[in-house]
């Protein structure tokens, strides 16, 4: 090869290298990609103040503007020291599980240059105290029962003392919010000034992946990339949380390329699965959320009472005329044909549940199976419980049953929230399946507010609700719903007034176990799950598969089933080229 050829070769190699490296360099610059556009299916955000936020829309913005206190490892799904974007570097727990000492990082700064410190966590705790008069979000007020104190002995240390030993204590501590104390003190001279301040919708001091740009009421919220984000480069130029009118419009906007990503409506799952199979879009199926359950009211719906009196003694709840008898609840569980439900409601992708524990939970009880579809067993149980069809009209009557009047029909109200088409379909299918064993369910989809009122007031017969799990998931959170302490008409979620002494013991032991050994706790929860399955206060119908789709030009999309936000956990690294 002569000299000229070598020069040409070297030149070509350099040109090739430059051609390849320039786009990469561009992609690594903050704000070099097109914005992320996500649909907001709810109302406008109510506030961007983490202390007051009580709705999912506001939280969707807040999590992008403010750092988390304790972060979650996307690979394990559990709290992790030094997780990206979070304030806590590490923590220690006292031997008695009461005191958590958190060490904070010192390289995180608010957008006005002031460092993020322990004072920003302490401010949140101080604002929560009832005497401040702050309208604290209902999601946080429970912390006042769980946490005794939050101290900030130095700028990089936060000491959280729990009210009682609690194996779920880290979850409570991690709920603490990080807010710009120096700025809030300035704009809210009194804590209560924040209650109705318009400043809540104009957050000028933040420290998340994005900073606030503008909020057009009824239209969208826009955030811009934070060029000083310390845990990597925020590649999209911004983030737009755009209101969409309904699911039809949302899907069409996605197909038109106007949305970066979206959760596919249940009614269009098969269509979008086909698009994904054809390679038209990226898709991520998930079974984490979207659990459907049916709750029975076991106590007397005409006389709802709290589970405990003021001295902590258990109060007799009376009995629901039909569901007070466990055999009826079991019979209806046996009479439920999940195959039919799966085909009719979940599009064939659903998973039947035995309890509320999902297969990816650490306490998942292997081997506990859902009730099989067995109409004969259902009929036998109903007959044994004194419900027979003596007049041959297809609906059973009480002939020696435990709690209903003689001759009363096996007839009850079954409600769900109107507007959710898959829930409505589920109600119709169940109504039909139960009619085949002689139980008449008067199914009606009703206004959500009415449903919630009936549910929490404990005046319902049977209600179907759609349930999304919090994250990270600890079995104590949901399982405590079946504790007598949650039987509080008007507020608690043990709305069916379920009570089992052994379950109470196990829940308490598992929550306060010294050392919090997971294997030991797992066995305790396993026994709880076995009892719950047997006594069927709820029918855990199943989990429907959900699908998140993303435009095919998005680079860096890497959904992780273990991440807190499966499909979006690394959204700040996505690169969307200009069209």
């Amino acid at each position: 090869m002569n000299k000229l050829s070598r020069i040409v070769m070297v030149g070509l190699c350099l040109a090739l290298f430059a051609a390849l490296s320039i786009p990469v360099a561009a992609q690594e610059e903050s704000g070099s990609g097109q914005p992320l556009i996500l649909p907001n299916f709810g109302a406008d955000p109510a506030t961007f103040n983490p202390i007051l936020s009580n709705d999912g829309t506001s939280n969707a913005i807040i999590t992008r503007l403010f750092p988390a206190f304790v972060g979650i490892d996307p690979d394990s799904g559990y709290f992790a020291p030094g997780a990206n974007g979070a304030l806590v570097l590490d923590w220690e727990v006292s031997p008695d599980n009461l005191v958590y000492t958190f060490t904070l990082r010192d390289d995180l700064f608010w957008s006005d240059g002031v460092p993020v410190t322990s004072a920003d966590v302490k401010y949140f705790w101080d604002a929560m105290q009832p005497e401040t008069g702050v309208n604290v979000s209902g999601s946080f007020t429970t912390l006042l029962d769980l946490i005794a104190s939050v101290e900030a002995p130095d700028p990089t240390t936060v000491v959280v003392t729990l009210a009682n030993p609690d194996c779920n204590g880290l979850d409570s501590a991690a709920t603490l919010q990080v807010v710009p104390a120096h700025y809030y003190t300035q704009i809210f001279p009194e804590f209560a000034d924040m209650n109705d301040s318009e400043e809540n919708l104009n957050p000028q001091v933040t420290a998340g992946t994005f900073t606030f740009l503008d909020f057009r009421p009824g239209e969208q919220v826009r955030l811009r990339a934070n060029p000083n984000y310390p845990d990597g480069t925020v590649i999209p130029v911004g983030f737009i949380y755009k209101n969409v009118a309904d699911q039809t419009v949302q899907s069409e906007q996605f197909l038109a390329g106007q949305l970066t990503t979206m959760g596919v409506p249940t009614a269009r799952l098969s269509e979008f699965f086909e698009y994904v199979d054809n390679g038209d879009y990226f898709g991520h199926p998930s079974t984490r959320a979207n659990m459907r359950f049916l709750g029975f009211n076991i106590g007397d719906p005409n006389n709802p009472q709290p589970g405990l009196d003021e001295e902590g003694n258990v109060i007799e709840q009376g009995f629901h005329p039909i569901f007070g008898d466990v055999r009826v609840r079991q019979a209806l569980n046996y009479a439920m044909d999940f195959e039919g439900i799966n085909a009719g409601v979940f599009g064939g992708t659903g998973i039947q549940m035995a309890t509320h524990s999902r297969p990816d939970d650490w306490a998942y009880p292997e081997g506990i199976e859902p009730y099989p579809f067995d109409q004969e067993q259902a009929i036998a149980l109903l007959e044994e419980a004194g419900w027979t069809d003596s007049d041959g009209d297809g609906v059973r009557e009480c002939n020696g049953c435990l709690y209903a009047e003689e001759g009363a029909l096996l007839e009850f109200d079954l409600n769900t929230n109107a507007g959710n088409t898959s829930q409505e379909a589920l109600g119709v299918v169940l109504q039909d399946q139960w009619a085949q064993v002689g139980a008449r369910a008067n199914f009606q989809a009703i206004d959500f507010n009415v449903l919630v009122d009936n549910f929490t007031a404990q005046t319902f017969d049977a209600i179907m609700i759609f349930w999304g799990f919090g994250f990270p998931f600890d079995p104590d959170g949901v399982t405590a719903t079946f504790s007598v302490t949650s039987d509080l008409p008007g507020s608690g979620f043990n709305t069916g007034s379920y009570y089992n002494e052994r379950v109470e013991e196990l829940l308490n032991e598992a929550r306060t176990l010294p050392g919090c050994d997971r294997e030991v706790r797992r066995e305790m929860y396993r026994e709880v799950y076995e009892i719950l399955r047997e006594e069927t206060p709820w029918i855990w119908i199943g989990i429907g598969q959900t699908l998140t789709v993303t435009q095919p030009n998005v680079e860096g999309w890497d959904p992780k089933p273990t991440a807190a936000n499966e499909a979006l956990w690394n959204e700040e690294t996505w690169f969307i080229p200009a069209p």
Binding site: D44, A46, T141, D196, L213, A245, V249, A256, N449, V452
Partner: protein, 365 residues
Amino acid sequence: MIKYLLRRLIQAIPIVFGVTVISYGLMAITPGGPVGALAFNSNLRAADRERLEQRLGVNDPLPVQYLRWLLGDDWMRWDTNDDGLADQAFLISLTDSEGNPLPPGDREGVLRGDFGTSFSQSGRAVLPYVTERIPASLELSISALIVGLVTGIVIGILAAVNQNGWFDQITRVLAVVFDAVPGFFLALLLLLIFASPRSPLSILPMADRCPPYDPMDFEATCPPIHERLDHLLLPTLVLATGGISTYSRYMRTTMLDVVSQDYMRTARSKGLSNRVVWFKHGARNALIPVATFLGPAIAGIWGGAVIIETIFNWPGVGLVATRALGARDYPVVMAVTLFGAVSTIIGYLLSDILYAVIDPRIRFD
């Protein structure tokens, strides 16, 4: 005229008052209150729920709630020794359910310009929350009103001129069809034809008042109206359709009535061209009864906009009303109701004034 207007305005006061009483009553007796959904949290304690009820004021009897909305509560619970806690109360409780003292009332009521704070929007003041939507609503409503009136009147005149001709027959059928088709159905149909990415005629945006961002400048704000007429087109068309149907038929009828009048015969006998006879002498007189439609038209457009704004995600008052109703956000619903009632009254008043302006024979004294 001024005396007449003053009389009408004074008469409107009990009407508005009646509307607010009935609206508040209907809203409050609707099953499913605001607290249930707001407090739907497995961790919420009973005391927190009570505190929430207390804060929203929904634990008081219905008449007291209405009075608070109308007149405020600073006269219901007040502080005489300046310690920040109330020590005197009238109609409402001085303490909470656990006997703890409460702060003095700070609401001034609608009559003093305080519309309260939203239940569902974390304490946002209702007045800015609703009024910031008015420009978007006006943009859509005025566009629809202009398109409806102008198109309807022109079609009505042409149909009358060509009585029983093909244009008259076709517009008659179309008027019946478009008057019968529900707005939401027409909206979805037009969206699928002109905005769906899978339609060959897809030339318009699916929804929204403004494009989400400018690809050339991410931080640019919503462009002026003339740069986003494509966003306005479909909702305006759907909202105007009912008006076009009604005005065209009404205009046709009044034009045909006018045709038989003596002055029209005189105009023709003077040898004036058909165009001058129809449009100068005929249409001008035929427009007088149409003016009476203006008042109901304004109110009707507000009502129709509630649905159309929701479908097209148009950030107007209608969208706020729909969501507030779903959330049982009483203060917001009441503000929108009051706004609608006042708009209706003003609309009818404008209609009367216009009637007098167009027809010199009309006198209100």
